[in-house]
Amino acid sequence: MKIVVPVKRVADPDNANKVNISSDSARVTSEGLEWKMNPFDEWSLEAALRLTEDAGGKKRVGEVVVVSIGPEDTTQTLRQGLAMGAERGVLVEGSDEALDSQSVAQILAAVVKKESPDLVLLGKQTVDGDSNVAGTLLAELLEWPLCNYASTITTADGGKTLTVERELDTGLATLKITGPAVITTSDRILQPEAIKNGVTAPDFKYPESDAGRYASLKGIMAAKKKPIEKLTIADLGVETTVVHHYESFALPPARSGSTTFVESVEDLVQRLSTEARVL
């Protein structure tokens, strides 16, 4: 099974409250914050690695290609993916400012057509834009089946058929899709038994984790030798169109008031009743 995993670099999401706005309000600035792989993409990469390995025998049985769009130093994000275990990387050169979900989907569609994988797995959203849009646009451009918010994936026929549970506001829904397909993942895709690929023993349990696997030292060394293909948007023959235009940004107003530390449950309930008037 061959899987393409698009990964975006984002300003450190655990410090998202430290992003700032430029003095003309036209840009979000993240100086001082580290670039990290978008967590949802990282979890999708973890799912892709699980789908293409024999976990018991620690053997790769498929291919994962990580793809990113960005300036030269985005290769670091791709190297992280390679160190986790992906086989190859593709970097499409582009500037972050000149992209939106539409143009990103157009570029990714061109890369996917070139790679013709069995599956594209990506995060349901990036934690900077929080849009939830690019994956869906990508599936539509490819005219491939789409499954958003996957919490479990079970493959059959060597990855040609996929049974996917989707986590919705109203509960769990199950779809059976014939690949090639586009799947976006939810948080639960990391659960110990979320992925069944027909190769790893069905009772195998991955360790509990809220993130993708750590790159081992061996993995980091190996990643240095793995190929990263560099392409331009022109190489792909794509004419991108940007249709989403951000005019200005603002920081949210701080919550008014301060924190009152209360001593006892009685005091808390009393205050909620008489002071906050919410009981």
Binding site: P13, N132, L172, T174, I177, S264, E266
Partner: protein
């Protein structure tokens, strides 16, 4: 003048309340541009569900009966056709998992840009400016779309459910458009969560539990009595959902549900940025936590430093007493 198409969200043949948040948005845009709004109801039981939306002030209601469970690819081509033939400038739905799944598909089919999860809209002449939370609610971005048709999903907590405005919108049937891709997607099952409690996104009071509750059983025996004493909805942190203590649909946060109740009680939740993104719009926030340095303090109005296993049963008792004394 901009005409707006509202896409209703059906669940088991009934329109969900999320639909009414999209109606509120549509009314705002219609009023300011001198346009009108219609509602499209699609899915199994659409005709029946449409009758319950007839008093919302829509110019007309369009219905398309599509049997079987929800598959976005089976709905999107029909909605795209309705948008194009009806000359709408905006197509909208609530930014629930349904709207966030379906509307970008519609957008792709008609070449429209998407303004996702917007919290407000300003109309200036023929320009619609959307403001939306980004970076886990740490930045508000204001954007426009440069496509003739605009697709918008709206944040339920920022657009109150529309009240009926009377009248009786005429109902028209529309033809269902098939898609080739849909043949490769088979709907198997939808296990709909049923709860006697208020819906998480609509409740006046939300009580959420974190990993410190330590087990599914403790959610039931320790937290739920407080939830019910307060007549609240129950929520959870990602860690509690990941650990399997409660199902994923209860997750509050950047990637779960966004809530803005009058009272939010965070029990044993440290307050990661991703969690705060889903609840910091609440009016009054209470934290119950052993660690007074926990980041939840950044947003808490009241902070009880205590072991939750002592404090929560006591609070249940106190709230019950207070309510009984009425």
């Amino acid at each position: 003048m901009t005409d707006i198409l509202v896409v209703a969200e059906l669940l088991q043949g009934e329109a969900r309340k999320t639909t009414l948040s999209a109606v509120t948005f549509a009314r705002q845009v219609a009023e300011q541009t001198g346009g009108a709004f219609d509602i499209v109801v699609i899915g199994e039981g659409a005709k029946q569900a449409a009758t319950h939306l007839a008093d919302m002030g829509a110019r007309k209601i369009l219905v398309a009966e599509v049997s079987g469970g929800y598959v976005g690819e089976r709905y999107a081509p029909t909605i795209a056709q309705v948008v194009q033939s009806g000359g709408y400038g905006v197509c909208t739905a609530c930014a629930s998992s349904y709207g966030k799944d379906l509307l970008p598909m519609v957008a792709a089919k008609i070449g429209a840009g998407v303004a996702p999860d917007v919290q407000s809209v300003v109309v200036e002449g023929s320009t619609l400016r959307y403001t939306r939370p980004m970076y886990a609610g740490n930045v508000f971005g204001t954007m426009t779309l440069s496509t003739p048709v605009q697709v918008v999903t709206v944040r339920q907590t920022e657009f109150d459910a529309a009240a009926p405005s009377g009248g009786q919108s005429p109902v028209e049937e529309v033809a269902v458009v098939e898609s080739g891709t849909a043949a490769r997607i088979e709907f198997v099952h939808h296990e709909v969560v049923k709860s006697e409690r208020p819906d998480l996104t609509e409740a006046d009071v939300v009580v959420s539990g974190g990993r410190s509750l330590k087990s599914a059983e403790n959610f039931t025996t320790v937290l739920e009595p407080l939830v019910d004493a307060l007549g609240a909805a129950m929520g959870a942190s990602r860690a509690a959902c990941d650990a399997g203590y409660v199902s994923g649909d209860l997750q509050v946060g950047q990637t779960g549900k966004v809530v803005a109740p009058k009272l939010y009680v965070a029990v044993g939740i440290s307050g990661a940025i991703q969690h705060l993104a889903g609840m910091k719009g609440s009016k009054t926030i209470v934290a119950i936590n052993k660690d007074k340095e926990a980041p939840i303090a950044q947003v808490a109005d009241y902070f009880l430093v205590a072991d939750l296993f002592d404090a929560v049963p006591k609070m249940t008792e106190e709230v019950t007493k207070l309510k009984a004394s009425g």
